[in-house]
Structure formats: C-alpha cells, structure tokens
C-alpha cells in the first residue's frame, strides 16, 4: 500500500469513526458535522471529475447542487401536501426516487449548460458557468411557488427503506455509503478509457483530436456526469438541513466547492474528502474563536493558493503522480 492509499484509507476510517464515537459520547452535533463533510465531499468529488480530470474550471456547480436540493424539497413538499406535481404525478418522500430524479435533472441541466459553455474555454468558461448558475439562482429567487427567496422547508426528513433517517447516525451512514460509491465511481472513471480521454483532453487537446476523439463530446459527457454527482449531493444536503433555499445555488457555493478541491488536492481521489474535512473543521474551529472566521478562512486560503500548492493531500501523501 503506497502512502497516498494509506492516507486515503485513514481518512475514510476516520470519517466513519468520528460520528460513532460522537454518538456514543452523546454528542449528535458532531455526527451532523461529519454528515456535512460527507455530503460536501460528494459534491466536490463530482466537481473534481470536471475540474480535476477534465481541467474544466466550472464556477457554476452550485446550479447542480441547488437543483438536487430543490428536487428533494419540492418532491417532499408535494408528498406532504398531497397535491399532484406535474401531469398528475405525485411527490414522494422516498430518498431513492428523489435521488434518481435529482441525478437525471442535474444531468440534463449539465448537458444544456455544458453544451453552450464548452464551446468556449479558459476564462470564458469560468465566467459563463458562473453566469448560468446565477441565472438558475435568480430564477429560484423570483419564482414564488416554492418559497422564492425564503426557501423551502422539508418538514420531515425523507425516508430510506430500513434506515431511521431522522436519527443523525442513520442518515450519516446513508451519506457515507453514497460518498464511498461516488469516490469509487470517480476511481473507475479515472481508470477507464473515457477517463483517460478526458484527462488527455486537458493535457493536450490537439493530440486528442488527432487520434480521432472529439474533445468536445468527451468533455460534455464528463461535465454532465460531474453535474449528476453534485446534484445527488445537493439532494442529500437538503435532507440534512431539512431546508433548501437559493443560497444553495449562490456563487459562493460554487466557490466553496472549488475551494474544497484545492484545499484537499486537485485531481486526487480523496482530495475532496480531505478538503471538505479541513474546511468544515476550519469553519467550526474558527467560528468558535471569532465571529470573523471568514476573514481568516480567506487568509488561510490565500496562503494555500500562493505557497502551499497541492493541498492537504499534497502535504500528507506527497506530490500527485502525473495522471
């Protein structure tokens, strides 16, 4: 087992151990923190597909995260009120149905946004993804049917067969398993022919085109899959907070997702998890010391970007092999 695998393994075990210990010590708050880490890590793993493998700096992944959240919120609301949703279909409070819908919708949105944004590259791409996410954001703010600016509450956390989802530990376990599946999927994609083409398109677009692969299609597929995973995380996030609001769609959220990846280590398998754990720990520790924690978060982030490239995993597990 090389050093990176060892670090990854320890991270995965720690994330599982902390909530169990906290639960036994009667501190459910830490279980919720760990759940937050797992969900943010999943969202960032999704983004890492586009950003880390494909080199697509999407500043608009909050759109997918928020869509997932709103799917959970809207379906749960309709299930609760009994009003039909569309074409006589009713809402649902079954998580797995919500997940499927969230993944499909986020994927469709990813295809639409990607199809236009991927015609451009570099700074244009960053700004356009940002602008599209803002478009979704403003739509959510100005559409009053589902709470508009005030957001939408989910009265009772959605159900999953065989798990008491209202118990913090039960819900954590769901999120943990989904995160591991997500990370596994990332590893599979990275090692696959498709993943190789996606990484090659980042490294040298012309060569990829020369061997007969269209970079645009590869990237669009990667972008859509990335959107799907982030959308799924959004659905879980809404269930964690039992609340969804336009803030999930805001550009700060997109920024945070990028921050998570870079804090952890760009393109690394467990980078998003390391980054999310670090971020939530910062947020919690600094938030306990000072009200001005965002200032210090900014400072730390600045130092990491300027001087400590490679993130936490770069520090713990050494440089990434070129992949």
């Amino acid at each position: 087992m090389n050093r990176e695998n060892l670090v990854n393994f320890i991270l995965a075990v720690l994330l599982l151990a902390v909530p169990f210990a906290a639960n036994m010590a009667g501190q459910p708050f830490y279980v919720t923190l760990a759940t937050r880490v797992a969900i943010l890590a999943l969202a960032a793993t999704g983004l890492n597909l586009a950003l880390g493998l494909g080199g697509l700096v999407s500043f608009g992944h909050a759109a997918f995260f928020g869509i997932g959240g709103y799917v959970a919120g809207i379906l749960a609301t309709h299930s609760f009120s009994g009003e039909p949703l569309l074409f006589g279909l009713s809402g649902t409070n079954q998580m797995w149905v919500i997940w499927i819908v969230a993944v499909l919708l986020a994927g469709l949105l990813g295809l639409a946004i990607g199809a236009i944004s991927l015609r451009t590259s570099g700074v244009y791409f960053i700004m356009i993804t940002l602008a599209f996410a803002q478009m979704v954001y403003y739509f959510a703010v100005s559409w009053p049917a589902y709470g508009g600016e005030d957001g939408l509450s989910i009265l009772v956390r959605n159900q999953f067969p065989g798990v008491m989802t209202m118990r913090p530990l039960g819900f954590f376990l769901i999120c943990y398993v989904v995160l591991l599946v997500g990370i596994g999927l990332f590893a599979l994609i990275r090692a696959s022919r498709f993943g190789n083409a996606l990484q090659a398109a980042r490294q040298n677009e012309v060569r990829v085109a020369t061997v007969g692969i269209q970079p645009y299609r590869i990237r669009l597929t990667g972008f859509a899959i990335s959107a799907m995973m982030t959308g799924l995380a959004g659905a879980l996030f809404a269930d964690l907070n039992r609340f969804v609001s336009p803030s999930m769609l805001s550009w700060h959220m997109s920024g945070e997702l990028i921050v998570l990846i870079v804090l952890g280590g760009t393109g690394r398998l467990f980078g998003p998890l390391a980054g999310a754990a670090l971020y939530v720990a910062f947020e919690y520790a600094l938030g306990g010391i000072t009200e001005r924690w965002q200032f210090f978060l900014g400072l730390i982030l600045l130092v990491v970007v300027l001087f400590a490239r490679g993130g936490l995993l770069g520090l713990l597990a050494g440089k990434a092999r070129h992949g």
């Binding site: 950003l51 700096v57 500043f59 236009i116 015609r119 451009t120 570099g122 700074v123 244009y124 960053i126 700004m127 356009i128 940002l130 602008a131 599209f132 803002q134 478009m135 403003y138 739509f139 703010v141 100005s142 559409w143 009053p144 049917a145 550009w251 920024g255 990028i258 921050v259 870079v262 760009t266 001005r292 965002q294 200032f295 978060l297 900014g298 400072l299 982030l301 600045l302 970007v305 300027l306 490239r309």
Partner: protein
C-alpha cells in the same frame, strides 16, 4: 404602457449600463493587459462606496467623499496588486479564481469589522437633487442623469487615455506583447500596478455613485461583479469597445425586460401569473441573451486579437 414610462425605463437601463461599463472596463483592462481574472473587483467597488459614505458623513460633502472613493479604491487596488496579485500573473486561472475569491472573503469580513453589519447611507448632493421633466410629463431624477453623464465622460476619458497618451500606448503594447515591451525598457511591473489601480479606481467610482442610490453594504459588489462578467463575456474579453457596448446592451435589456415582459405575458395569461412568469423570465433574460450570443460567437462580439 405609455411612451413616457418607457422612456424613463430606457434611461434607467442606460444608467445601469453606464455603471456596468465602469466595472467592466477595469475588469477587461486587467484581463487584457495582465491576463488575470479578478473576482475581487466587486470588493473594490464596495471599498469605493464605503469610503465615499464614510468620508461624506464625516466632512458633510459628497464631493470630498467621491474623491476619497477614488483614492481609497485605487490605493486598495495598488496594495492588493503589490502583495497578492502580482504573484498570480504566471499562475493558471484556477489559482487566480481561488486567490481572488479568498480576497473577497477578506474584504467583505474586513469591511464588516470596520463598519459593522448595518448599511450606511449616502445622500445625493444638493446640487444634483430634484428632478427634471421628461418629454411626456414624467419626472426623472437629476442624479441618475448625472450618473449617465459621468459615465459618458469617463468612457471618453478612458478612450483618450488609451488611444492618445504614452501610458495608453504602453497599455496597448502590454496587451499585444508584454515580453517585448519589457525588453524595450518599460518597467512592466509598475505598469501592471498602475493598470490595476486604474481599474480599481473606476470600480470605486462606480460604487460611490451607485451608493447614493442604494444602501452601502457589505456584499453590494457581488451582483454587479457578476453582471460585469456577463458584460465582458458578451463584449469579448480584453476589448474596451466590447465592454461599452456589452454594458449598454445588458443594462437596457435587463431594465426593459423587467418592465416589458410582464406586460407581454399579460396577453397570454391572467395578470397575477403573467407578473410571476414575466418577472422570472426577466431575471434570466440577460443570461439568455448571453447564451445566444455565445452560441453564435463563442469569443464575444468584439474578440480581442490575442487572449
């Protein structure tokens, strides 16, 4: 719908466009010359507004506040460039995005630290209070007309600066070949600091002018920043001409969309629903326009020659 009301909305759109131009000009200049994407540009806008409000409250004069806003934003820009930004020129866009995102967090929280969480208010100077009567009989505030005029003057000034002066010549040279002008003996590092401070001053000026229309608060720069991004993407990044036309297009489209769309939808739907759908579509309209333009011209309307 009367013609007078439409004229009023058109002027509001122009005013928004002019303000967006001041923001977008700085962004596009900084990108064109240094190849840097600066998310913290909205923070400089906020710095200008806060400086103007604080100094105006202290001295009782809006005009001194306006000068203070230029000085404060330019100084903040120069300091940020010297300490942080100049380390980012050789980095990829991801690093630039992150570092300037970190700067936003620091600026926002720092401002909240200094001024507290409550918004400040900035009064319109007595000289520009009151309203004029537009053809058609509606009253229109003088101050908004003054903003349009100020923006037009700055646009002309910027054009003169860039096309007629030695500094402008260097800026243009920096855009087309920065190694070459360095080799010709121009102090490129100072030039970068000057360009950054110039862009910052434009943003601060815009912030101060708008500060008298809205409340001056933390986070006020962010919506404007994103609109300015839309503007320079539409106009073509690096092009001042594109920024001007993009800004006017976005300003007028946004304002007229919010005004007209609910009325257009009223032909098909009951009034309450028409207002809702119209409002929702209007809030997305400029992004739709952007998407259409990019689908046709992926590099914007006036793509800069390089970049």
């Amino acid at each position: 719908m009367t013609v007078a009301l439409a004229l009023e909305q058109l002027l509001n759109g122009l005013q928004l466009g002019v303000m967006l131009f001041l923001m977008a000009a700085g962004l596009t200049l900084i990108f064109g010359v240094m190849g840097l994407i600066n998310l913290a540009h909205g923070s400089l806008y906020m710095v200008g507004a806060f400086a103007c409000a604080a100094v105006a409250a202290w001295t009782g004069s809006f005009w001194i506040g306006l000068i203070a806003s230029l000085v404060a934003a330019a100084a903040a820009g120069a300091i940020v460039e010297l300490v942080v930004i100049r380390r980012l020129y050789d980095r990829d866009h991801l690093d630039q995005v992150l570092a300037t995102f970190a700067l936003i967090l620091m600026f926002s929280e720092g401002t909240r630290w200094l001024f507290g969480s409550f918004p400040l208010y900035l009064d319109i100077p007595p000289l520009l209070q009151g309203a004029v009567t537009l053809p058609g009989g509606t009253q229109y505030p003088v101050y908004r007309l003054a903003i349009i005029a100020a923006g037009a003057i700055v646009a002309i000034g910027l054009y003169m600066l860039i096309s007629k002066t030695r500094l402008g010549m260097r800026i243009r040279a920096g855009e087309s070949d920065r190694e070459m002008i360095g080799a010709l003996g121009v102090d490129i590092r100072t030039l970068y600091t000057v360009v950054f401070a110039l862009g910052a001053a434009l943003a601060g000026f815009a912030g101060a002018m708008v500060g008298a229309l809205q409340s001056v608060q933390v986070g006020m720069g962010e919506p404007v920043l994103i609109l300015a991004f839309v503007v320079i993407v539409i106009g073509g990044i690096g092009s001042i001409k594109g920024a001007l036309l993009g800004a006017l297009l976005v300003g007028v489209t946004d304002t007229m969309g919010r005004f007209l769309l609910p009325q257009i939808f009223a032909f098909f739907a009951p009034p309450a629903q028409a207002g809702m759908i119209g409002g929702a579509v209007a809030s997305m309209l400029i992004y739709i326009v952007m998407a259409v333009i990019l689908a046709v011209k992926p590099r914007g309307l006036f793509p800069a020659a390089h970049a």
